[in-house]
Subunit: 429 residues, 2 copies
């Protein structure tokens, strides 16, 4: 990790120090995804089977996983794993239930009643990545809030061969519709529908560059599904003062770094001596990590920034807008209110990122690549739309109508004006 | 308008009857926008000036509108127009203030405290279209909620020459940053920033095909700004029973149709005789409309669908997912709960769409082209992100940690596990 003293840097150097890796998505990825999506749109299930055979090496005659396989996976799980998953489910459920939106109703004038009413989405797609780490946590983070919102149909796609732990998690979350399809082809299936996989109105979940690109493409097309978030490599920023434990801070940086060679790690510290301790501790902890190679590759682009005070540290945090922000300072709780741009914040020495990744109850589907400036992580509300409802009485229209007529007139929209005038002139009541 | 009896249609015919116009965005639009965005990114203000001269025929040495011009426009407004705008502002303010999100806090376990905290966006772009109808209402619908949320910087772009009514609306809403730039070039400026126009984190507002395409492109790029909604032609669906007034229903359809030749109008009625009355009434009202040609063009693709009962009507409504839904039935208020997919609903005979377009207080920036299935209209929350915050005590980590360790183990992420284990093993407290 490169160590930089923030006060010594000029504007350009500061920008460079907080830059994310450029050109996330190669042109070749874009071309492949365009071709895959077009093929899925044209050939449906046949295209899905062909890509699954080709990319995953699996002959998928039946893409849908039988419900009995989900139950069998759960039943086969060891009791301690079951208990861990059940605790995670309980916490995720508690926090996401508290987020269920209420109807908002206001009578702005006598006879002018306005409401904002939530509606659960009807049918959503939940993408659970496969790969080296079977993300049972992702299944829970998506399927549980969808269920709490009352989404009728939760359609899970995940690349084969599917790890039993993922099937068990589906069972625990009451998901019964799991399809063994991954990659851009799965996103195409959810966006357009095939004979086997239904078309959904919104697609959730992380994935590799192909999946992320496919999500961006289908959602940008007219009439395409919505998506939860734009996706980029995972990232963590830790702000630690001199009283923090270098052991804890190193552990948090390493838990980020082991995700992926592209994972971003940034530490903000208050002194060169703490930076030195941190580097030593990282080296000590990394040696016997199973994923040490991945972690080393990720840390090679990591940075340690020395800040002069809390104000400077906060300016770095808000300029970077990290996905995960870990505050290990004595005044960590006091700093939270000044954090404007971040996905999820972990406060104090006893709150490692991994608690939020799995089981504290917050959602781990979070904005990366600076998207925290404008996007939130997945919340229960992500599974709703909000409908405006207005009801006027005749008296209400008599009070409000003249203003509407004037404004329609200002905009030169005569039929808009008449929709009011004709009513006000009418004899009915 | 074509009249179709829903019960007589098969599945394919029903789909066709609810189809929106295809291929909204021509390839030529996509190519132009790509070139414009690249040029704005490369040349900044120089590119903006060139496109403004070329497309708008305006020599824009100073793109920023002086604040004194905003005040002057307001001061010059006639008192009745001022009063109408002030009433609209009061209602929009009342309804959007009621939508300010609260912090949600839950202690899911002893020592495990979770919060979801709202944060206002820092800097947003508000696009106000120019064209034949100066949309003073759009300025209010975007600038007022942004202000209520506490957004620090509201950057308005609108094509020159700017109508005085728009400048007056900016003044009324306390906006002081208005730039005379429109089209795809304005979206590029907001996305990338130029010497004059700041880079924003989210872009709001309607626009033509160039603007909509530019918004889709910049938001799909890695690190790009968020956008409020995908945009398509405006649309209204009216459901009227035999007791409804054909005069009112015709007026509502015409107020939609006068927007744009692409505007979509669909009426659901309960009898052929009502359909006939409606067609007669439309013909009667359209004759002396100033924008009759636009309305006729729009209505030529409009449809009147005859439904056998409320259930069938609701199935049509939810299949179409209209931007605006006007319910003129005796039981209109009872139907609302069964409307699952719509942008804004207007209930009963005294609630024409134009009240919501201008002054009832609901937001008129709404999902079109079926996007109501997954997107909401602009609400106060559109100007916030939500940050997750978790705080564990040592006791909390002792209770939760073992489950996190198990789950990390299931996912094969050893450093995630150790971030917990090293803490639990430590002597510090």
């Amino acid at each position: 990790m490169q160590v930089l003293n923030w006060s010594d840097l000029n504007g350009t150097e500061r920008k460079a120090a907080l830059a994310r890796p450029d050109a996330l998505i190669g042109a070749d990825v874009g071309q492949s995804v365009t071709a895959i999506l077009a093929d899925v749109k044209a050939r449906g299930d046949a295209a899905l089977r062909a890509y699954t055979a080709n990319f995953d090496g699996v002959d998928s005659v039946d893409m849908r996983v039988p419900v009995r396989d989900l139950k069998a996976a759960w039943d086969a799980l060891n009791p301690d794993d079951k208990a861990a998953m059940e605790l995670a489910k309980a916490n995720i459920t508690a926090f996401h239930t508290a987020q269920i939106p209420a109807t908002i109703a206001v009578d702005v004038m006598d006879g002018v009643s306005l409401r904002r009413e939530p509606r659960a989405l009807n049918c959503v797609g939940l993408y659970v990545p496969g790969g080296t780490a079977p993300l049972v946590s992702t299944m829970m983070m998506l399927a549980i809030p969808a269920s709490i919102a009352g989404v009728k149909r939760r359609v899970v796609t995940t690349p084969p061969p599917i790890n039993d732990a993922i099937l068990a998690a589906a069972y625990l979350c009451g998901v019964d519709e799991v399809y063994a399809v991954g990659g851009a082809q799965a996103i195409g299936a959810l966006a357009y529908g095939t004979d086997t996989i239904p078309k959904v109105s919104k697609i959730f979940g992380p994935g590799n560059a192909y999946v992320a690109t496919a999500k961006a493409m289908v959602s940008a097309a007219p009439g395409g599904p919505a998506i939860d978030l734009p996706a980029g490599p995972s990232e963590a920023m830790v702000y630690a003062d001199d009283e923090a434990s270098p052991v804890f801070v190193a552990a948090d940086l390493l838990s980020q770094a082991e995700h992926d060679v592209m994972a971003q790690t940034v530490a903000i510290v208050r002194s060169q001596s703490f930076a030195n301790k941190l580097l030593t501790e990282i080296e000590r902890q990394i040696t016997d990590l199973p994923r040490a190679d991945i972690a080393r590759a990720a840390l090679s682009s990591g940075r340690i920034l020395i800040a002069s005070d809390d104000e400077q540290a906060l300016s770095i945090i808000n300029a970077y807008a990290p996905e995960h922000l870990i505050l290990q300072t004595e005044n960590a709780a006091d700093l939270v209110a000044s954090v404007r741009e971040a996905g999820s914040v972990f406060v104090g020495p006893w709150t490692p990122e991994s608690v939020g990744d799995y089981a504290s109850g917050t959602n781990h589907t979070l904005p990366t690549y600076g998207a925290a400036r404008a996007y939130s992580g997945v919340t229960t509300e992500s599974f709703y739309t909000f409908i405006s409802v207005q009801t006027l009485t005749r008296k209400g229209l008599e009070a409000l109508g003249p203003a509407v007529e004037r404004l329609a007139n200002m905009e030169g929209l005569e039929a808009h004006r008449r929709a009011v005038s004709l009513r006000l002139e009418s004899k009915t009541s």
